[in-house]
Symmetry: C3
Subunit: 206 residues, 3 copies
């Protein structure tokens, strides 16, 4: 675990599991059958990275190169299906793991965009896509308006982290530093937003 | 018709027509206009293969290389628009053709994934995507939760067929045998599920 | 501005701004937060071109090669968020700009498909995708059945323009002529449909 890439991979798997659990829980609540719950878990966990890889033309998408992401998502979704009440009770822990996944996915997506020589907006956007598209697909398939378009600071934390990572990259910070700082920035903003109930402004007058 | 590939192509066109009809019928029921009905027919018939080809990076997607798929889908959708009551009456025949399309699309998708050297999970998933993503897009565009996430054994039949095809491929079965067996497996499971009302488990306690 | 490509680029930016405003307005009406409004503006403005580039395998999609499209969409969405009432009042002007964007996006998409050697159906479809997928994604994310599947002549105007552009291309018309004629055809059909209330047929008997 001395290699920062191993730490990123460990966090990536943790985030994948957290996202799969969140998708599977929505599936259980929507009364989907077992396979529907698995599909929603896998889509939530891997959808963001798949969309990113399609846009960067890095085929096949990451989870087809390393199928462990698929096995992990399927496994977590089955466990959630068998014992959903346990996960419902772990609400706070789930939110924390979700924040951790958010920071990790953002850092992975923006780093990959930088490696593919995208610009400022593109690098942020690829991080946001990686971190949020899985959840958006989950909500679209559940026939809901995506939560991230409505809810307390979520994608906004990713925008901040992606911008920070881009600027640290331009400034020549070493990789372990910029990955850690950007991920912590996302997680800190997200956790603070949950604790303090921070919201972005919205119009209610129209 | 001695060449097994010609038989697969014939079944592929039959499945395409069945899927286009199912999409167009939903469009008619949702009171879409003529073009909306055509779009829903085309998306249902070709959406699965297009998503598969995007993920495998085989561009442009199949129906742009052989436009007959597009002409066929548009033609079927127009016929459905002109005489929807006939198709409503052919409910049983439509379900059978749909099962046939399901088996054929699964076999085509998983075979292509094997040709692209994907692993066990990836090969199954590409078959499932090919067979079900068109119907999922149809339901998302109609503002419904995708039927395949809820309904009697449907995508599950594809998972079984895809796993069987992968294993027969590893075991070195000749192509005509494994394609036929896998497709028949999907069709048999699906038809039995309809006749017997088989369902996957779902939680109703949460 | 003597170069026809400069005119196309200017119209492209105008259409991008109009589409971004339409997406952002839907976001404001759905009570999304500021970032949700920006996301919906960006997706509406760039979604069609991104889907087209994914299908043509021209990676990364256009707006990552020229980020000005992203800055423009974000900027317009923020302005709409700050002063939505102004845009609500400019209903007619917005419809006109939208028609102009429709014609421009169709021409860009079909031209690109011709450059990639697609056939008749594929070239029309790529123009339709470029012009309408952004709006379809906007509606799917807002949990609505896409307007273009239901509403007065909209995608149909694109089909006519795309077919015209393909035929003029085959007949060897010079590029400035065919681009202008096809775009004007789309805009004229769309504006006439709004003014006259033209509709495609739809079934109401089933």
């Amino acid at each position: 675990m001395n290699n920062p890439m191993n730490i990123v991979y460990a966090l990536d798997l943790l985030g994948t599991a957290a996202f799969a659990a969140s998708g599977a829980l929505v599936g259980v609540r929507k009364r989907l059958d077992l396979l529907g719950v698995i599909v929603l878990g896998v889509v939530t966990a891997t959808g963001g990275g798949v969309v990113r890889d399609l846009m960067l033309n890095d085929a096949p998408p990451f989870c087809f190169k390393n199928e462990f992401y698929l096995y992990l998502s399927v496994g977590v979704a089955i466990i959630v299906f068998l014992a959903p009440a346990h996960f419902e009770r772990l609400r706070k822990e789930m939110l924390l793991l979700d924040a951790l996944g958010l920071g990790t996915f953002l850092v992975i997506g923006t780093s990959k965009a930088l490696a593919f020589k995208l610009g400022f907006m593109g690098s942020i956007l690829m991080g946001v896509v990686t971190a949020t598209c899985g959840g958006m697909l989950r909500d679209v398939l559940s026939n809901e308006i995506p939560l991230i378009l409505q809810r307390e600071i979520y994608a906004s934390a990713c925008v901040a982290g992606g911008a920070g990572l881009y600027l640290m990259h331009q400034a020549g910070f070493p990789e372990p530093v910029r990955l850690t700082v950007a991920a912590l920035l996302v997680i800190a903003i997200r956790v603070a937003a949950i604790l303090k109930g921070w919201q972005l402004p919205r119009r209610t007058d129209i």
